[in-house]
Every structure is written in C-alpha cells, then in structure tokens.
C-alpha cells in the first residue's frame, strides 16, 4: 500500500501510471478541492486544540481549570477585575469580563468562575476530539470484528449476532446513553469491569458509552459487504490452498471490506462529536473541572444574554469540525466508490 498522493501538477493524461487502487483513490481525493480544504480545516482544528497547554501557559498565562473569582487582567493599559460589579444588561451582581480580543488577556472573556474562555475552548476541543476520534475508532473496530465473524461463519452465528445488533439499535441512542451515563455517574465508584476500574470523572466513560451505542450502525453495512465477498472466487481459491479461517478473514475478506469502514470513519467521528457535545451539555458527558465544547456551551447558558461569546464560540468550533468531517466523508466516499456519485 503505497498510497502516495499525486503532485498537484499531475494531469489526467498521466493517470494510467497509478495501478494501485489505493493510489487511484488517494489521487481522486487529492483532486477534490472541497474535500482537501475540509481536511485542512480539520487538521488545523486538531493542531490548535493540541496546542491548548502552550496557549494557556505561554500566551494567556492562566490556569483554565481553577476558579479565579478574584483575578485581574489588563485591558487597554488599565488593570481591571475579571469579575465586574454590575456589568451586563441588568447592572446587578457580578458579571465576568467580556471578550477583549487580546490573545494575552482573556481573548474571549471569562466564564462564571472567572476562567479564560479561550483557553478552555482549546482544552475543550482536545476532549471533544479525543472522545470523538477515540469512540469512532473503538466503535469501528468492534463493529468490524463482529461483522466479520457474523458474515464469515453465517448460519446461526450470523442470525444471533445480527438479532443482538438489531436489539441494541432498537433502543433509542440518546436514551441509552442517558441511562448508562446517569447510573455510572451516580455511583461514587465508577465502573468496575474485572481488573479495569474507571472513575466516574474519567473521559473513558463517555468514550466507551458513545462507542457502544453506535456499534450496530457501523455493523450493518460492514456485514453486508462481508456477505457479498465471502463467496467470491478468490476466497474459494484460498480455501482450496488450505488457508485457515483466521487467514481467510484477515488476508482475503478484511482488505475487501475495509473501504466501507474507511468511508464511515469520518462520518462516525462527526456523529460522535455531536453526541458527546449533547451529553456534556446535559452534564452527563465530560465531568468538571474538565471541559469539552458541550460543557462550555452549558456553562455559558446562564451568561447567554450578557456574555454570549461563552456559548457561541464552542458552537462555532463544533459546526466547523463536524462540517469539515461530513464534507471529507463525502469526498472519501466519492474517491473510493466513484459509482456512488451517481446516486
């Protein structure tokens, strides 16, 4: 698999040089300007989010997880308190400072606890992306393994596994996630599976819950693809050569179903980021003091009319991330399966 992308100057006449289907797909994706632009946008969001500690320590000089009600900052050369008396519309109580548009001093203002919103936004992006990508990975791996087993062995195995998946899918996604999350969060001990212990505030809980609820969604198309290749001639040829079941599954069938998973992967990250933000908004996803885009929108709910940027900024980040992944997913599908474009 030498899936190297063609140089930007490559013209259509040179196309026959690339025989490898992966190279052809990669080239097709490379030529799709909109898909490449969205990949660039997504990469940019990832890089910026990874740089969160750098921003917090070296640019903003804040601790985005500590309560900071007595803090001060500098705006236009004057020292001002972060929590301002009688700010906002009603001129009552304390209101956090609004956006200063100065990277060193509370660029997007502060939240109800006086914490730097910009720094939290970057850290929140890290959590959202980690959970989105992590759960998509776990979900796709589990779904693919189950689909390979069901499709390869067929018969009773297939019937049982497929019915099980149907049952999980019959359960509404959000209600399932809400039930599991509430129970795990109310128990002080977190989740105990054998030797593995996950504390209630662990990021692994939302990651695993989201991965679990979407397994049937990925399972269905992958199993369909396994069924369509399992009786092909090249698989039978391998059987005739005396290949073991494991070898058949991993060397003959898996490479021919993996495109389905690759097409679904960016879309699953997008779906999972949206699900994570919804759970966190309902305060049953990422737990304080950690932040994710969903929790920041939740924090900003009380400040909506006085300091709208606290809620608006993480929403914009979610829209940009999910949109770029959706466009990229469409591009990957078109590149791997040109016939799909007709549909």
């Amino acid at each position: 698999m030498t899936a190297t992308a063609a140089p930007p100057g490559a013209v259509a006449a040179a196309a026959p040089a690339a025989r490898n289907p992966w190279a052809i797909a990669a080239r097709r994706l490379w030529r799709n300007r909109i898909a490449m632009a969205s990949l660039l946008l997504f990469a940019l969001i990832v890089i910026v989010s990874l740089a969160a500690p750098l921003y917090a320590h070296d640019v903003a000089h804040v601790n985005p997880f500590a309560v900071n009600l007595n803090g001060i900052t500098v705006v236009g050369g004057h020292t001002v308190p972060i929590m301002q008396q009688g700010g906002g519309v009603l001129k009552l109580g304390e209101t956090p400072i609004g956006p200063t548009w100065d990277p060193g001093h509370y660029l997007l203002g502060a939240d109800n606890l006086g914490r730097d919103v910009m720094a939290r936004l970057l850290y929140g992006g890290r959590s959202s992306l980690e959970i989105g990508i992590g759960s998509a990975l776990i979900c796709c791996v589990i779904a693919t393994v189950v689909a390979l087993i069901a499709g390869f062995f067929g018969g009773m195995t297939d019937a049982l596994l497929s019915r099980l998946m149907d049952l999980i899918w019959a359960f509404p996604v959000y209600l399932l996630a809400i039930s599991i999350s509430t129970v795990l969060l109310t128990s002080s001990g977190g989740l105990q599976i054998g030797p593995v212990h996950l504390v209630a505030g662990s990021m692994w809980l939302p990651t695993l819950i989201i991965a679990f609820i979407y397994v049937p969604y990925v399972y269905r198309p992958v199993r369909g693809q396994v069924l369509s290749v399992v009786n092909r001639e090249y698989v039978q040829a391998s059987v005739a050569q005396g290949a073991s079941n494991l070898r058949l599954i991993f060397s003959e069938i898996l490479p021919n179903v993996v495109t389905v998973v690759i097409v679904l992967f960016p879309l699953m990250i997008a779906t999972n980021i949206l699900t994570e933000s919804a759970l966190s908004f309902l305060s049953i996803g990422v737990q304080p003091p950690n932040a994710s885009w969903g929790t920041i929108i939740n924090d900003g709910q009380q400040l909506l009319y006085t300091r709208p940027w606290v809620s608006i900024a993480p929403g914009i980040m979610i829209v940009l991330t999910v949109l770029s992944l959706n466009v990229l997913g469409d591009g990957v599908r078109d590149a791997l399966d040109p016939r799909a474009k007709l549909r």
Partner: protein, 323 residues
C-alpha cells in the same frame, strides 16, 4: 401480509421485553452500583434506603426484582420520585406529553415541506451552481448541534432583536397549552419548531435528492420520457413517487425517536416542559425513577412507531413482505 404482521408483532414484543430487561440491568445490576442509593436521590436517610430495599425487593432473587419493577411501571403505576416528595412518576409523564407532541408535530410539518422543496429543487437543478449551494446549506444544517442553534435563536429573538419589529411578537420562553391560549401556543412554538426542523430538513433534502437522481436512471423513467411525458409529470408521477417510499419510512422512525425523548435538547433550551424536559430535570436531581420511566415509555413508543412504519412499508411495497 398477515404472516408478516404476525412475525413483526412477535419481534416487537421481544424487543420491548429486552428493552425492559436492559433498562433493569442498567439501573439495578451494573457492577459497583447500589440501586437503593441510586433510586433514593441525593443524600438519602437510612430509613428511606431501608424502605426502598424492602419495596423493590432488593434482597430477593433477580427475576422477582425485575417483576416488581415492571409491576410498578405498568400495572400499578405507583413508582414514586424520592427526590420530589413522593410525586407519582407515570401520571407526571402523561401530563408532560402534550407539550412534546405539539413541538414535534409542528416541526415535522415544517421539515417535510421544506425538505421536499429543497431536495426536489437540488435534483432538478443538478448541474447548475444552485445544487451544490443547496447541498452545502443542508450539510451545515446537519452539522449544527440543535441545543446550540436554539441558544443562538434565543439570543436573536429574546435579546438582540427583540426590541425591533422583527421579533417583538416572540413571547418569553415557555410553553402555553393549546387549550389555554391557541395564539400564544402558536407564537411560542414557532422558533422551537424551526430550530428542531433544521437538522431534519438538511438530512431529508440530501436523502431525497440522492433518491431522485437514482430513480431518474431507472428504465421505467426512461420509458416514461420516451412516451413523451413532460418532465413535470415524470417527476410527480414517477421519480418523486418512488422516492417518497424511503422518505416516508425514514420520517416514521425519526418522528418516533423525537416523541420518545429525542426532542429533549430542544425542550431544554426553549423551556418547554415536555417529556424530554422532565428527563433533563431528573438528570440534575439524579431522580432515577423518573429517568427510568421516561426511558422505558419513550423506548416503547419508538419501537411501536418502528413497527407501524414497517407494516405500512410492507403494505406499500410487496417485496418487503417476503424477505
């Protein structure tokens, strides 16, 4: 057809049974979770814990516990909320249902009409710059978290532009029952309806466009064109009609999910006290009896809706009955 309905009904019953078992396992049997403590809400007294253990038969065998729970949910319907002074849970859910139905019905009307308009327009205008523009708009609609969109809508209609003629008609957040004041019911729901429908407009417009283009390549459509039927008639009588089959089945599923609890986020943002809002309130009080009841009733509604859709689908399309 009768055989199909019988099989489908059996499957529905099985799914409902498994859902109750699954909910029971999640709420009572997850390792490391004390169900009495979970059910009791925040900081329970030892007496309350003792009472719950006795009432739910937590010292008795597993199947007995399950049966007691089901009896409390469906037969005696006397499950109480310990966080909320012994409020009966099931009547509380019934009282919240009209608000949820109002929200979802209105949104459904908007999203079906606009999605058909947008999907048809994009398919007809394929090849012009309007098609990609419409599809990008649809993608943006799909990519927005609904609770954030709702907050932005509130910011615009309740604060920034509320003083101007544009949005001065928008009443404060909340729900007015239809029987109490129809005009206020309508005005208060317009913004929530639009907010909830945007995601589905994008989703359905994309699906409809794809399906229209796909059926446009079918032989019978070519035959229709060869007969000399106008493009308008081809669209209305052939392609759109076929594409509506998948559209309608998708609609049934999403409608079920929204009534069954999926409208939760919209209800929270707009302060509409429906079933989803009830679930949300119980989340912040850790009021597990209410969450358990809303989850089971919501899931049941969704499963029923799915069954109805499948039966309707089989009635429309005989190929489905056999497979």
């Amino acid at each position: 057809m009768i055989g199909f309905v019988a099989r489908r009904t059996l499957w529905t019953a099985l799914v409902m049974f498994v859902i109750t078992v699954l909910v029971f396992v999640i709420f009572f049997k997850i390792p490391g979770v004390d169900p009495a403590r979970s059910l009791a809400g925040r900081n329970p007294s030892p007496q309350v814990l003792q009472e719950i253990r006795h009432q739910f038969g937590l010292d008795r065998p597993f199947p007995v516990q399950y049966l007691i729970m089901m009896k409390k949910l469906f037969i005696t319907r006397d499950l109480v909320s310990y966080s909320n002074q012994g409020q009966l849970v099931v009547p509380e859910i019934a009282a919240a249902t009209p608000a949820t139905l109002s929200l979802v019905f209105g949104a459904a009307v908007i999203w079906v009409l606009l999605a058909i308009a947008m999907g048809v327009a994009a398919a007809v205008l394929r090849g012009t710059w309007l098609d990609p523009l419409l599809m990008i708009l649809a993608l943006i609609g799909i990519s927005m978290p609904v609770f954030w969109l709702g907050e932005v809508a509130n910011l615009i209609t309740q604060a920034k532009l509320h003083q101007t003629f544009l949005f001065s008609w928008v009443p404060p957040l909340g729900y007015t029952p239809l029987s109490q004041n129809p005009l206020l019911w309508f005005e208060g729901l317009i913004i929530p309806w639009i907010t909830l429908s945007i995601l589905y407009i994008g989703l359905y417009a994309r699906v409809l466009r794809g399906s229209l283009i796909e059926t446009g390549n079918e032989d019978y459509v070519r035959t229709a064109r060869a007969k000399g039927i106008s493009e308008r008639q081809v669209l209305l009588r052939h392609t759109l009609r076929t594409s509506m089959i998948s559209f309608v089945s998708l609609f049934g599923l999403d409608f079920g999910v929204l009534v069954g609890g999926g409208a939760l986020l919209t209800e929270v943002v707009f302060d509409i006290h429906g079933v989803g809002y009830l679930t949300y309130q119980s989340l912040s009080n850790l009021d597990l009896p209410v969450i358990m009841a809303t989850v089971v009733y919501g899931a049941f509604f969704i499963v029923l809706a799915n069954t109805l859709v499948d039966v309707g689908y089989a009635w429309l399309d005989p190929r489905v009955r056999i497979s």
